[in-house]
Each structure stands twice: as C-alpha cells, then as structure tokens.
C-alpha cells in the first residue's frame, strides 16, 4: 500500500515536471516571437506582462510539485492519510490567502509551511527515528531529506527576490541541494 502511494506520488511529481516543462517551452516560443516582432520589447511594459503571465502559468506546476513533495517525503514520518490532510489544509489556507493577500505573500506562506514540514523530516531522519524509506542507508536518507528541503527553500527564496537576504538564502539552498544530492547518490 505504502509503495503504491509512493508510486502515484512519484507519477504526480513527474506530471508536475512535465507541466513545468511544457510551460517553459511555450515561454521560449513566446519570448522569441516577441523579440522578432520588436527588438526592444524588453524595455517596454510588454516584457513585464510576459514575466507576470509566465510566473502565473508556471504556478500550477510548481504548487503541484511542492504538494507532491510535501506528501512524498513526510509520509515517512506519519501515515499518508494524515499528511495528505495537513497538506490539504495548507493548500486551502493558501487559496484563502490568495484571495486576501497578493500572490507573492500567499506563496511565501505556502512554501514556508511546506519548508517547516521538510525541516521536521530532516531532523527526524538525522535522529534516525523509525521513518519509512523505500530503500537506502542512513546517509542516503539524510541526503534525500536535505535535497528536498533545499528545493523547497529555493522556492521560498524566489518569493523574496530583491531583498537583501535573497542571495544568502540562495547559496544556503544551493549548498544544501548539492550536499543532499551527493549524499543521496553515493551514500549507499
């Protein structure tokens, strides 16, 4: 049962990546079309509209990606039913916030909530609690938890672009992702 859920979560994650890729490919096409029709379009408001549109278009894929990750990793901690409920509540709060607050703030709160879950999972993995992992040695499990936490941190960081903390958080997320990947790949 746990393996079956894991399988469908991985499928969901892959679907989110395909969705993101499709959005990206469309973005490449539109960027080129706009550049060809007006060489200086980037200095016009059109570029800003394009960026806003692309950010919005990629949002469902990113939310789906983070949602599947938020269930996939912490289900090692508590049952899939509970964690799905928690993620569902977070999603609901996100939708309510989306109505009340600007998109950036709603997203920031959504990603921060998911980050919190990933931090708890990482701590418990380091403490070697009896978590459900499909396979792998302790080092590899810590690596997996760390890289998924770092990916969430990247997204939190996107919501603070322009602030003084942005690059510092980016480097922390980058280092975490690299160390996590190495541990996950070569940790046994």
């Amino acid at each position: 049962m746990a393996d079956r859920t894991g399988y469908w979560l991985v499928i969901l994650f892959i679907v989110s990546l395909i969705l993101f890729s499709a959005t990206g490919i469309y973005g490449i096409y539109e960027y080129n079309m706009k550049s060809k029709s007006n060489e200086n379009w980037k200095s016009t408001p059109e570029y800003r509209h394009f960026m806003e549109k692309m950010n919005l278009l990629s949002l469902p894929a990113v939310v789906l990606m983070m949602g599947s990750l938020a269930i996939c990793i912490p289900r090692r901690l508590i049952s899939t039913g509970y964690i799905s409920l928690i993620v569902g509540i977070i999603l609901l709060i996100f939708i309510i916030y989306l109505v009340i607050y600007p998109l950036k703030i709603a997203l920031g709160i959504f990603f921060l909530s998911l980050l919190l879950i990933q931090i708890v999972v990482l701590i418990l993995t380091i403490m070697d609690r009896n978590l459900i992992y499909r396979k792998g040695m302790r080092m590899s499990r810590i690596g997996s938890a760390l890289l998924h936490l770092s990916l969430t941190l990247f997204l939190v960081d996107i919501t603070i672009v322009g602030s003084g903390l942005h690059l510092a958080v980016f480097w922390i997320a980058g280092a975490g992702f690299m160390v996590g990947s190495i541990m996950s790949f070569y940790g046994g």
Partner: protein
C-alpha cells in the same frame, strides 16, 4: 597590447590546428567506420580500440594547443594605460567556437576512464566520441578561433591612437571584468559542459532501455546520470548570482535559462522514474531520449534564439 604578437600566435595556432584537425577528422571517420564494421567482424574490434585511443590522445593534444593559444592571448592582449592597473585577458577555453571542443574533450576523458562491457554501450560511446570529434573540428575550433574576441581585438587595433580609444578601452575593461575574466565564466560554463558530456554518455543506456531489459543499461545510466545531474545542478546554481550581478532583472524567462531549467526538470523526472524502474522501464528509456534531444536543443538555443545568452 601587442597586436603583432597576438596575430602571430593566432596564425601559428591556426596552422598547428590544421594538422590536428586533419588527424581528428580522419581518426573519427575511421572510428565510425570500424564501429559499424566491427559489429559484423569481431577481428576489427582491436583496430577500433586502437583508433579510439589515438583519437582521444589527439583530442587531448588539440586541447593543449588551445591552452597554448590562450596563454599567448593573456601575454599579448592587455590594457595598459597611465594611471590604471594593467588588465590582461584570460579567455576561458570553452567559449565561442571552442565550446564543442571542450565538450568533446570531456567525453574523451570519460571514455578513457570508463570501460563498459556491453557491446551496445561500447559501440554507442565510440559513435558519440567520433561524432563529437568531427563536430569539434567543424565548429571552427582551429580554423576560426574565437571570432568575437578576435573582432574585438581588431577593432581595438583600429581605434588605437584615435579619439575613440578611451571609450573603447572602457568597453574592453568591462568585457574583461564581467565576461572573460569573471570567476563565474571559469566555473559556470565548464560545469555545464562537464554535465552535458556525462549526460551524453548515458544515451546508449537509454537507447538500450527502449529495446531490451538488461541491468547493464541501468548501471550505465546511473554511472553517468548521477555526476551529470550533479554538474548540471551546480552549473545552474553557479550561473544564478552571475545573472543577478550582470543582468539585474532583465533575464527572467530568458530562452536559454528556461531551456536549462526544463532540461533539469527532464533529468529530475528520470531520476524519479528510476525509483520505480520495473514499472516505468520503457518510459524511462523514452524520457532519456527526449531529455537528450532537449539537451541538444538547449545548447543550440544560444545560436537559434534571442535573449541574454545569444552571444553565438
């Protein structure tokens, strides 16, 4: 700047490159031929192996020649002006027409250090090596070295002594500081090319996965996919602060960057399908093929697309 010295070293590089190019193309064609023929005649395998080693050695010798050219550039091309520090040009050996050569070099190193046992993998990696050998030469690594940099130096030579010289020197100083000599230029592109090389070498494994079920294919993919993915991620991470520093906010959703992210998403998807490889066996193979096609497309975006990376 010693323009005569620069032109002299460029000429000797082109002449030396002519010989190396001839060797690389001949050995690559021979390797292609022997790889196809050795499929039927096993006695030819030893010959193919020998030609392959010779090709690898020649590609490495060619890279040494490129390094010699670049050292020559740093010695002869510099900005020296009263009241300012001398600025030398340390041009990295993986830009402009040398990109594919660097890619081919890393493939050579990987091929030299690895010893696949499966026939399909051996044939596949030899075809990749030979193709990249030819592409590296055809792209103009030796016949048309660093065309944009050369044009900049030539214009510099023309404006020397004129009223435009100071303005042009300011432009060249910024080119040296933010492009050629930038620390990011020395770590971001090579990390990506190393990743491209590893990911290219995983291709025979994905082709195998489409037509057969063999654990050799999976072990080959894992061997190359893991370092390839690590270098790809590192390359993307290292490029970000550079983009923020150099382009401020005018690069979001740039085609090349978006393409790289999509490529990263493809390879992330593969790493996840590999967890359930029994159920997603053929799908993983197909995704691997699509990812490689997208890798090539992302590389070509520099040439076929507009955007901040469209330097050519």
């Amino acid at each position: 700047m010693n323009i005569q010295g620069y032109l002299q070293i460029r000429d000797s590089f082109i002449n030396g490159g002519l010989i190396i190019s001839g060797f690389i193309v001949t050995l690559s064609l021979l390797l292609l031929l022997l790889t196809f023929l050795s499929h039927r005649r096993r006695t030819l395998r030893l010959h193919a192996e020998m030609i392959e080693k010779l090709l690898i050695a020649t590609i490495m010798a060619g890279f040494l020649l490129i390094i010699y050219f670049h050292v020559g550039i740093s010695r002869n091309v510099f900005i020296s002006h009263p009241g300012m520090e001398t600025v030398r040009f340390y041009v990295p050996p993986w830009i402009e027409t040398e990109k594919l050569y660097f890619w081919a070099l890393i493939i050579s190193v990987i091929r030299l250090l690895s010893s696949p046992v499966d026939d399909l993998h051996i044939a596949g990696s030899r075809l990749i090596l030979a193709s990249f050998g030819i592409l590296a030469v055809v792209s103009g690594s030796f016949s048309n070295p660093l065309p944009f940099f050369h044009r900049e130096v030539m214009i510099w030579g023309l404006v020397r002594g004129s009223t435009d010289e100071l303005q042009y020197l300011a432009y060249m100083v910024s080119r040296a500081r933010y492009f050629y000599n930038s620390v990011y230029m020395w770590i971001h592109p090579p990390a990506l090319f190393v990743s491209y090389a590893f990911l290219t070498m995983s291709l025979p494994g994905f082709i195998g996965m489409m037509f057969r079920k063999k654990t050799d294919d999976l072990s080959l993919i894992y061997r190359y996919l893991r370092p390839g993915y690590l270098f790809l991620t590192a390359g993307l991470i290292l490029g970000y602060p550079w983009a923020v520093e150099a382009w401020r906010g005018s690069w979001w959703w740039d085609p090349k960057i978006t393409g790289s992210l999509v490529m990263w998403a493809f390879y992330t998807a593969i790493l996840h399908t590999m967890i359930y490889r029994r159920r997603l066996y053929r799908f993983t193979g197909i995704t691997g093929m699509v990812s490689f096609i997208f890798l090539v497309y992302t590389y070509l975006l520099t040439y076929i697309s507009t955007g901040v990376h469209a330097y050519g």
